[in-house]
């Protein structure tokens, strides 16, 4: 991956001069006798011969690749640049036409690119060979380079790395490297030893396979076969899904093939984990979950000493509190616009005196439309089909009605009308059992006796269904003699009692 953003604007000569300076200093360091303690620091930032050698390799790669790339690009540019005047260009280019020139330029660019790639890989291979066997016992303290750069007192510099921009030499190398990609960094990274990192303890993990004497050859054999089969089944499932999809397969076929695809891959992965991966157990100490006391105190101190830089702290706190209050008011205002006051909407009387009772199809209901034992759903004539006004009309034998005295005239001809919204949780009280004269709500099985004003007789409902007083008009149609006797629907705080 090349790094286009970091390409420096430096001209080719500048890059070459930098690289040459670096090269000289590195050669100097590389020629020092190899001793573990007597670290010599060159201007290039290398602290010992090994590091210098690594840098040297990098420098060679950079210089070579940079030369090839930059040179080729310069040549290519000459050929690809269109002349200002079309008339004079044929002579200037030695009889070549515009198209010829462009083509030559392209080939040159391509050639340069290829030779750069080739050079890069050759240089890398050389570097790897060169750096394969570092001399033993020569590893210096990692921060010797940084120490030599005289860091500020108290400042702890970490070991130099290709991506640090600590020294001038590294900077030059990095700039040159960036001009041609990350070649140097990659080579250096590969050649950097990791011995001085603290251990993670992985190598000390218990190997259960070895402890139990598991026949690994056998397990790996079976694991390979089974995981292979599972993977194949998964592939087959995936292909089956695609085929099913494009041929309009059924839901079962689609789901089944998708399931096969996913399940088989899941099985394969689990097999891989259990039969084709070493079984190891790590035992590690747990860190304390709370911070050590000094860290706690340090954090508190950091806060207070920072806070002491603020003037007028009480004012700030007061202002913040006031601001919070205002924010709260703003938020509450915004929330207020989400709804409207509930009580007016909940209190609306849905039936008006004189309204005819209509079926869901909008046909007025006459007093003898129902036989005793019958039941239909009715609405006021101006809101047929509405949720809030739904009313159930039943007819019973007149002599069975046991309404309170105040309601004696509400059921002309044994026609009884009640709100159809359950007073428990608001479902439609849609079932009627004519033999027992019970209305039943299908949601929680509350039952209401239509004979005595729809008082609840069973189930969780506590309040009677509101009754609608009726009268028969001159045409024999049923009309409301007023609103519901009570508030219809489930109860709430502030409901009219």
């Amino acid at each position: 991956m090349t790094d286009r953003d970091e390409r420096p604007s430096g001209s080719l000569p500048k890059v070459l001069v930098n690289a040459w300076k670096l090269y000289r200093s590195l050669v100097k360091t590389a020629q020092q006798p190899r001793t573990p303690t007597g670290a010599v620091v060159s201007p290039g930032g290398a602290s010992n011969p090994e590091e210098a050698a690594r840098l040297l390799t990098g420098a060679w790669i950079v210089i070579g690749a940079s030369l090839v790339w930059r040179g080729a690009r310069a040549v290519g540019r000459v050929f690809l640049t269109r002349p200002a005047e079309p008339g004079s260009q044929a002579a200037a280019a030695g009889g070549q036409t515009e198209e010829d020139k462009v083509r030559t330029g392209k080939w040159l660019m391509l050639g340069a690119l290829l030779s750069w790639k080739l050079g890069k890989s050759l240089a890398k291979r050389t570097a790897e060979t060169f750096l394969e066997e570092p001399a033993e016992g020569t590893a210096p303290p990692r921060d010797s380079a940084a120490r030599a750069e005289l860091p500020a007192p108290g400042e702890k510099r970490e070991p130099a790395s290709p991506t640090d921009s600590g020294s001038a030499g590294w900077e030059a190398l990095r700039a040159s490297a960036a001009a041609v990609g990350h070649t140097v960094e990659k080579v250096l990274a590969e050649a950097t030893p990791v011995e001085d990192l603290p251990s993670t303890g992985r190598e000390a993990d218990r190997n259960l396979d070895r402890e139990k004497g598991v026949n690994l050859e056998r397990r790996h054999g079976w694991g390979t076969v089974l995981a292979g089969f599972a993977s194949l089944a998964g592939l087959a499932g995936g292909i089956a899904f695609v085929v099913n999809f494009w041929t309009g397969g059924s839901n079962e076929a689609l789901g089944g093939s998708l399931a096969l695809f996913l399940l088989a891959f899941g099985v394969a992965l689990v097999l891989w984990a259990h039969w084709l991966t070493a079984h190891k157990v790590a035992v590690e100490p747990r860190e304390r979950v709370s911070s050590p006391l000094p860290e706690q105190k340090g954090a508190a101190l950091e806060f207070t000493s920072g806070a002491s830089d603020i003037q007028r702290r009480r004012l700030l706190v007061g202002m913040a509190a006031a601001g919070m209050g205002v924010v709260g008011a703003v938020v509450i205002s915004l929330i207020r616009s989400l709804g409207f006051p509930p009580y007016r909407a909940l209190d609306t009387d849905v039936w008006k005196r004189g309204q005819r009772l209509m079926t869901v199809d909008g046909i007025p209901v006459s007093a003898d439309a129902l036989a005793p034992g019958g039941m239909i759903v009715v609405f006021p004539e101006n809101s047929v089909g509405s949720e809030k006004t739904q009313t159930v009309l039943v007819r019973v034998r007149q002599d069975l009605v046991r309404l309170p005295a105040a309601r004696s005239s509400w059921a002309p001809g044994g026609n009884l009308a009640y709100s159809r919204i359950c007073t428990h949780a608001g479902c439609s009280v849609g079932m009627y059992e004519a033999n027992s004269h019970l209305l039943m709500c299908p949601c929680h099985q509350s039952t209401f006796n239509v004979l005595n004003g729809a008082q609840p007789t069973g189930g969780p409902a506590a309040r009677a269904l509101p009754q609608l007083p009726l009268y028969v008009d001159a045409d024999g149609h049923l009309r409301a003699a007023g609103g519901f006797s009570d508030y219809p629907g489930p109860g709430f705080w502030g409901m009219p009692s």
């Binding site: 949780a425 969780p460 629907g489 489930p490």
Partner: protein
């Protein structure tokens, strides 16, 4: 190598190598019961994937339309645009029904896995210090998951979910003092109205999932920081962790589990029908649907609503309706109890120490018995939530069955508790006293100081 180059490119900008090295070595204890939370996590991933797909087709609108689509039985029927888009998704979009059913099944598995995970934590006392915070976050995730499940099937605007929504509205409305205002602010008016589906939809696909994702992140970060608990066993003390490393063992297993969960969801979505809204028909306030139940995870609330006697409480002129007690107060108290449990348990067992080794269920007979009693109570309520269906299936009388359940709701938990307590004591006697002593000695010798220096 491309991967290496990419890694170096990223590292040279954000310096990750040290963290990655540490992360790859992270130790995870190995036990089947530790996968329950992972199943929940992966179900959520599946929910996000399938849900995004569904959102491409769903119309979160209550606008009335007349249906003239592929599904002939509903031709010419008036319905909401939301319900129409669900029909379109189910019948006309290739694999649309599969994705929709997978989404619903994944939601069920999500909540089921959370509940199983919760039970595992409870019965092994994994909520003890220092894990109280993750207990609270986990419970909040459960609340959000339950809420989003309800919102999710409600936005389809079919007859079944419409009935559920009416009940939910009645419960919300029943809250003393603030109920009506809260309901109207949340839903923009009565239910059903034009604002109902858009409100639910915005909550379902944005606010609640965002909160869930955020809390899952916090849940995992805390788990990562505190390291997982261990079951008791050799070398497992409060000062050590025993398990497999993240790379490669745990990674392979966990990735395998993800595919398995996804595969099971695909199989269910393809082979087992769920929430066939076209059979219920569009929501119509005048129509009724006998035998209606909520999704199983809300069955306990439904059951409580059916068993609770019809008691109105009038405070002067102000009413606390009967649905408030079983529909709101009861679930509220259940969650208050759950949230406070780790803090209550500290005082009951007088144990304020940090614990990383789990207790086996039998080692805490009172708690195990109590937990089983609560679980059985929930089961009885779940059955009560479908008592009309039970009555139909058994040719019984719903009134008789309800009476029986009203007795069972008190008796069954007590009996279960007593039986479980005896089993725990028996199991403790059975287990080798030598092993018991050794593990006790081990735990004691590594006990952390009960109070931290302040």
């Amino acid at each position: 190598m491309m991967g290496e180059g990419l890694a170096r490119w990223v590292d040279s900008r954000v310096r990750l190598a040290k963290f990655v090295r540490k992360a790859l070595n992270h130790v995870f204890p190995d036990h089947w019961s530790f996968m329950l939370g992972e199943i929940a996590l992966y179900s959520f991933v599946i929910l996000v994937i399938t849900g995004t797909y569904l959102a491409m087709f769903f119309h979160g609108s209550s606008a009335r339309v007349i249906y003239h689509g592929t599904y002939r039985p509903l031709d010419g029927v008036s319905m909401s645009a939301a319900y129409q888009s669900v029909l379109h998704l189910s019948f006309d979009v290739p694999a649309g029904l599969l994705i929709r059913q997978m989404h619903h099944w994944a939601a069920d598995i999500f909540i089921g896995a959370i509940l199983a995970h919760l039970a595992r934590i409870f019965f092994t006392a994994a909520y003890r210090r220092p894990r109280e915070l993750n207990w609270i976050i986990g419970l909040t995730l459960l609340v959000l998951a339950l809420a989003n499940g309800f919102l999710g099937y409600s936005v389809c605007d079919d007859l079944l979910s419409g009935a559920g929504l009416r009940i939910g509205y009645a419960i919300l409305l029943s809250i003393p003092v603030i109920g009506p205002w809260i309901t109207f602010l949340a839903l923009g008016g009565t239910v059903p109205s034009d604002t109902t589906v858009p409100r639910l939809y915005a909550l379902h696909i944005f606010l609640v999932p965002a909160l869930i994702a955020l809390l899952i992140g916090a849940h995992l970060a805390i788990l990562w920081r505190q390291l997982h608990t261990n079951y008791p066993g050799p070398k497992r003390t409060d000062k050590t962790i025993v398990g497999a490393r993240l790379w490669p063992s745990y990674t392979l297993k966990s990735l395998g589990l993800f595919f398995l969960v996804f595969g099971v969801v695909a199989a269910l979505g393809g082979l087992l029908q769920i929430d066939p809204v076209w059979i219920y028909g569009p929501y119509n306030p005048v129509a009724i649907l006998p035998g209606a139940q909520p999704d199983w995870y809300l069955g306990w609330v439904e059951g409580a609503m059916r068993l609770f006697p019809g008691v109105n409480l009038w405070l002067g002129h102000y009413l606390i309706p009967e649905v408030f007690f079983p529909g709101f107060l009861f679930p509220f108290l259940v969650f208050v109890f759950l949230y406070s449990w780790p803090f209550v348990e500290k005082y009951l067992s007088f144990d304020f120490a940090t614990h990383h080794v789990l207790r086996l269920p039998r080692q805490q007979p009172w708690i195990t018995a109590f937990g089983c009693a609560v679980a059985v109570l929930m089961l009885v309520l779940l059955v009560a939530g479908g008592d009309d269906v039970v009555a139909l299936a058994e040719n019984g009388n719903v009134v008789q069955i309800r009476t029986l359940l009203r007795i069972l709701v008190f008796v069954a938990p007590v009996v279960t508790g007593a039986v479980v307590y005896s089993i725990c004591r028996w199991a403790n006697r059975k287990s080798s006293p030598v092993a018991e002593e050794r593990s006790a000695a081990e735990v004691l010798s590594h006990e952390e100081p009960t109070t931290q220096p302040q």
